[in-house]
């Protein structure tokens, strides 16, 4: 794990990097279905709120043992506030639908690569899976890793950092951290995965939901 070096020579994790050291996050007790088609789904799970941001798992996967019939779409029934709202932002390029049906490892990886995913705040800040820093200034994760003296602005920037990931032919799993918390308002997740028939769609977590979870976050409690 990369981090920055403080004046005393110790490694210090920047706030945008991941959950704050020594904190247990407050769990948001729900799993979000961002997108669903006959052949695949995109979900956000393992949502935890910290004073500095939100950790979660992005999962994109193919339908197991594809059946012929389909029941009513649970996305339309899932009780998330303002669920079926089309995203205000736009993803930067369209997916290549010609990959549907291909099956080699490389082709499947390309299919997973085409997943578009973004996090948005009500004030307009937006970070994407393929463009993880939003906001003014010259901060980029790569510049930070190269040792440049850059930092994001907590009022105007947003960072969607990747903590770990794994992918296979049928499933992509990415553990992510979005920094900071919104000043107010909802936290929105959006995805688009055209290659498997999932159009752009946005799901919002209302402010009351993430604030309630934030109250459950706590520092490491130790025995005396």
């Amino acid at each position: 794990m990369s981090a920055s070096v403080s004046d005393d020579g110790n490694w210090t994790q920047p706030k945008w990097w991941g959950p704050p050291s020594g904190w247990f996050g407050g769990v948001i007790p729900r799993e979000l279905v961002l997108g669903l088609s006959d052949t695949a789904a995109v979900m956000v799970t393992h949502l935890s709120v910290y004073p500095t941001g939100v950790a979660f798992r992005l999962r994109a996967f193919k339908r197991p043992a594809v059946p012929a019939a389909r029941i009513p779409n649970p996305v339309d029934q899932f009780p998330i506030e303002d669920s079926p709202k089309i995203g205000s932002g736009e993803f930067r390029d369209a997916a290549d639908e010609s990959l549907i049906g291909q099956s080699s490892w490389e082709e499947e990886s390309s299919l997973m690569d085409q997943l578009k995913f973004a996090v948005e705040f009500e004030d307009g800040r937006r970070a994407e899976r393929s463009a993880p820093v939003g906001g003014p200034g010259d901060f980029t994760i790569i510049a930070f890793q190269e040792g440049k003296a850059v930092a994001p602005d907590p009022i105007e920037s947003i960072v969607l950092n990747g903590r770990s990931s794994s992918s296979g032919p049928d499933e992509l799993v990415e553990d992510r951290f979005v920094w900071p918390l919104p000043l107010s308002g909802s936290l929105a997740f959006s995805c688009c995965w055209s290659a498997v028939g999932i159009p752009e769609r946005r799901v919002e977590l209302g402010e009351a939901i993430w604030r309630e979870a934030l109250e459950r976050a706590h520092r490491l409690r130790l025995a005396p």
Partner: protein, 192 residues
Amino acid sequence: MSLYDYLQPPRGWIGGVLPEEVDVGTGREVAMVVSHLTAYPAGLAFRVTVLSRSDPAMVCRDNLEASGRTGTDSADLHLCIGVEFSDGRCAIQKTRWIGASAEGGLGEFPSYPKQMPPDPALDLILNVSGSEASEREFVADCWVWPMPPAGAVGFKCGWPAAGIPIGCKSINAEILHAAAKRAEPLWDLEAA
């Protein structure tokens, strides 16, 4: 339900998630918490997070040095994660965050099914997978099959080398059963 439900949480389901966490171990430098309790008709997923106030290699220094001399990790160096049902079934898995030997000495997979396919009335499978460690944090995602019967569900966890003896903290299976009823499939799995 699938024949392989005992291996991992069912892909293609929205799980019923509980906000509660369970403090399963507290030492002077380290604490263990079970969270993200997510119930399905087939079983229970949960996450174990271990946080350390200081470098875990320093916390376990004495044990690491002793293990280094023998070339084998002592059992106390292993993180223990276990589940116990009210009918007496119990499964404990060992994993490790730090160690002195390359192979770790974790031994055999201890909760392998007694028969194939496993019997939900007799077996209890605990899969600890997807662990991730950083300087001060260890996270493991776990899967329990099948759903526990009514009564208490115990989490038997500990890390003796870090000052957390293996203990048992219980919750009532009723809240897990209620959460499992909220789980729903993404697709018509019966047609598969």
